[in-house]
């Protein structure tokens, strides 16, 4: 049963995942943490951290990891979730290549996209806001780490891996 749910959930995420991986994060969180409760919010945050600091598309990394965990440590769960999140891309892009190379210029599609892309940006922001909770922010030290990571990433363009390692060391020392 969990395999069928994993397939449906990740297919839906792939199908409506406009705006790329980061916009898909809030969909993954909504489905996986709130609707199906396969993972707790802390576990989900850890998986996002791992997905960001390992190579490859973030949505694929999340699907593989969550599939494994949700199915109780089963590689079949990973395969199903990863396959399901890619399948809409494959179907849609193949249809575009075969039949409507001009669909990007379709007036209704362009009109819809003009609303969906800003909404996708909002979803990225929502993903960040939803992770700002008492599970992930234990006390003032968490706020300092968050602020430091923001300054390093936004102003100094420090790489993601460096920031993750740096905050991990701080966590080990401070908590």
């Amino acid at each position: 049963m969990v395999f069928v749910q994993l397939f449906i959930t990740f297919f839906k995420i792939g199908l409506f995942g406009f705006g790329g991986g980061y916009a898909m994060l809030s969909m993954i969180q909504h489905e996986v943490v709130e609707v199906h409760q396969w993972l707790g919010i802390k576990e989900f945050t850890d998986i996002v951290a791992i997905s960001q600091s390992t190579p490859g598309p973030i949505a694929i990394n999340c699907a593989t990891y969550i599939g494994y965990t949700a199915a109780g440590g089963s590689i079949s769960g990973s395969i199903i979730a990863t396959f399901a999140v890619c399948l809409p891309s494959v179907i849609i892009m193949l249809a575009v290549c075969k039949f409507f190379l001009a669909f990007g210029k379709n007036k209704y599609f362009s009109a819809a996209l003009a609303g969906m892309m800003p909404a996708a940006t909002g979803l990225v922001a929502a993903a960040a806001l939803m992770l700002m909770n008492s599970h992930n922010f234990v006390d003032y030290k968490s706020i300092i780490i968050c602020a430091a990571a923001f300054v390093l990433s936004y102003f100094f363009k420090t790489g993601i891996i460096k920031i993750i390692i740096f905050s991990g060391i701080l966590g080990y020392v401070l908590f």
Binding site: T64, C86, S89, G115, M116, A125, M132, Y154, I163, Y172
Partner: protein
């Protein structure tokens, strides 16, 4: 056969060596597919990129489907998609198995206690950059803010938000502003 192998290896490299998701992968894909292998030319790549970005799903996978199919049909597409996915899949499986062993380790918990708040910042930064790339245009920022609040505070499902945003934009752009 050699062509399939080349397609597979090129996208395997792209999947294995790019950190930080689709947008970071684009220059590497361009280098590999346009400059090195010359499978498609620069204009085709630009057109494909526009499509890959406006279709749903991971941008790297969309690009892989397009390039693979264009060069070698359905089998070529399978080669490129597998190439993109396999490195991620393999690395994550190893990490997942490793972490399952150390789930209750105090050390790991302390390390992640530090990492979790940093993750919030690392997602906030691309959100701000996406707004910045739109020059903080008022309607873009407003739609983004309403969508974020709908998901964050009103607990509306993100899929519904995307669908509603698309429908509203069709109604607005075709009937009210007649922009398209």
């Amino acid at each position: 056969m050699k062509q399939y192998l080349n397609l597979f290896i090129s996208f395997l490299k792209i999947g294995a060596f790019t950190l930080g998701g689709g947008y970071i992968m684009i220059p590497l894909i361009e280098k590999e597919v346009v400059k090195k292998r010359k499978w498609i030319n620069k204009d085709e790549f630009a057109e494909m990129l526009a499509l890959a970005q406006s279709a749903p799903g991971p941008i790297a996978v969309n690009t892989a489907v397009f390039v693979g199919y264009k060069i070698k049909g359905t089998k070529g597409m399978i080669a490129t998609v597998l190439g993109t996915v396999i490195p991620s899949f393999t690395i994550i499986i190893f990490i997942a198995i490793f972490f399952a062993e150390f789930e209750n380790s105090k050390t790991i918990e302390r390390i992640f206690c530090g990492i979790r708040p940093a993750v919030v910042a690392l997602i906030a930064v691309p959100a701000i950059n996406m707004l910045k790339n739109n020059n903080f245009k008022i309607h873009v920022t407003a739609i983004a803010a309403v969508s974020a609040i709908a998901v964050w505070l009103l607990n509306i499902s993100p899929v519904s938000v995307i669908i509603i945003a698309g429908l509203c934009a069709i109604i607005y752009n075709t009937f009210i502003s007649k922009r398209y």
